[in-house]
C-alpha cells in the first residue's frame, strides 16, 4: 500500500500545522460487482492512527462511504522536533505504516 504524507519541513514551537496523508487503497464497499459479476468483498481501511513523538494526535475510523484512495488532513500543534508515525489497517488485516520527520524551532 503506497502512501504519501505531507508535513511542513519546519515549524515554530506552538504553531498550528496541517498534516495530510493519502493512501492508495481500493476501499471496496462490498456492493460493487467484479468483472465476473460477483460482489467484491468489502475491504476498506477501517482505522488509521497518527502518533506524534509517541502520542496519539489523530484517529480516523472509516467505512463504506469513503471513496477509493482516501485523503485525510488534520491540524496539530508543533511542540517538539521529532517524528509523525501513521499506522493503518484494512478489513483483510493488511497493515500499512509511513513516517515523516518534523523540525520545530524556537
Amino acid at each position: 500500500m503506497t502512501a504519501r504524507i505531507q508535513v511542513p519541513a519546519s515549524a515554530r514551537r506552538g504553531e498550528v500545522i496541517e498534516i495530510r496523508i493519502a493512501i492508495q487503497h481500493p476501499m471496496e464497499t462490498g456492493f460493487r460487482l467484479d468483472d465476473s459479476g460477483r460482489a467484491a468483498p468489502k475491504n476498506v481501511v477501517n482505522a488509521l492512527v497518527c502518533r506524534y513523538n509517541g502520542v496519539e494526535v489523530f484517529r480516523a475510523e472509516m467505512g463504506s462511504g469513503v471513496a477509493a484512495n482516501p485523503f485525510l488532513s488534520f491540524f496539530t500543534v508543533a511542540d517538539a522536533s521529532g517524528e509523525l508515525v501513521f499506522d493503518w489497517v484494512d478489513d483483510q488485516g493488511q497493515t500499512g505504516s509511513e513516517r515523516a520527520a518534523l523540525t520545530v524551532t524556537g
Partner: protein, 263 residues
Amino acid sequence: MTPRSLRDGLLAAALALISVAGHAQNAAKPEPLKSGLEFTGPEVRELQRDDFANPGMLWITRGERLWQEPAGAAGKSCAGCHGEAKTSMQGVAARYPQFDAARARLINIEGRIRQCRESRQQAEPFKYESAELLGLTAYVGQQSRGMPVNVPIDAQTRRHFEAGRDLYYRRMGQMNLSCAQCHQDNWGKKLGPETISQGHSVAYPIYRLEWQTMGSLHRRFRSCQSGVRAELLPQGSPEFLDLELYLAWREGGLPIETPGVRR
C-alpha cells in the same frame, strides 16, 4: 437509472447531437487546441493542480520507488542504467510514440518499459493496467510535464500515421460513430452528463474519478469504443499505437500534464 437505460439515454443523446455529414479523409486539428482539463469542472482542475491531493501522485510515488529497485535475473534497477529520471527521462514522453527500428513497429512509453523490463532486467514484463506499469509510465511522463508534445511524422512513421488517421475517421460500433465525429466535429458540446473534449492524450495516464483508479490511454480508448458499442481492441494493439501516433500529431504543441485527473 440502471446502467442499461443510462446507456440508451446516451445513445439517444449522441444520435441527436451528431448530424450525418460526409467526411473527407483529411487529417485536421481542432482550433484552437485545448486541453481536456478545460472541459472539466473546477473541482477536477483543482485536484489535478494540487500535487499532493492529486491521487495520481500515489501511483507516481510507486513508480519512483520501483525505479530504484533492482529486479530480474540481471539484478538491475531502472536507475542502474538510466540514472536520475529527472534528467534522463526529461522530455521523453513528449516525443512518443516512436518507431522502434529493431522491431520495425511503433512503440509507446508502456512498450519501452515492458521491453526494458523483459530484455534489460530479464524480469516478467508488467501487465497492462497494473499499478506497476501505470506508476512507472506516469513517473516517466511527469518528467516531461509542461513540455510541448513534438512527434514529427517521418518516412518510417508515415504509414502508421495514415493508418491512425483512417481509424480516427472510421465509423464504428452499433452507434456508427467515428472518433472524429465526437472529438473533431462536436467538441465543447454536451453528451449526457459529460462535455466532449478535443480528446487529447497529453494527461495520460490519468486518475479518473469514475474508475476510482488510474488508467492508461488505451483504457480510455476502450471506454470510448464501448460508449459507441464497438468491439474493443486490446491494450497495446498495433491499431491503438497507430491511433496514439495520430493523436500525438494532432495535439502537437500542447504541454504534457501527466498525471491528469478527469471525471
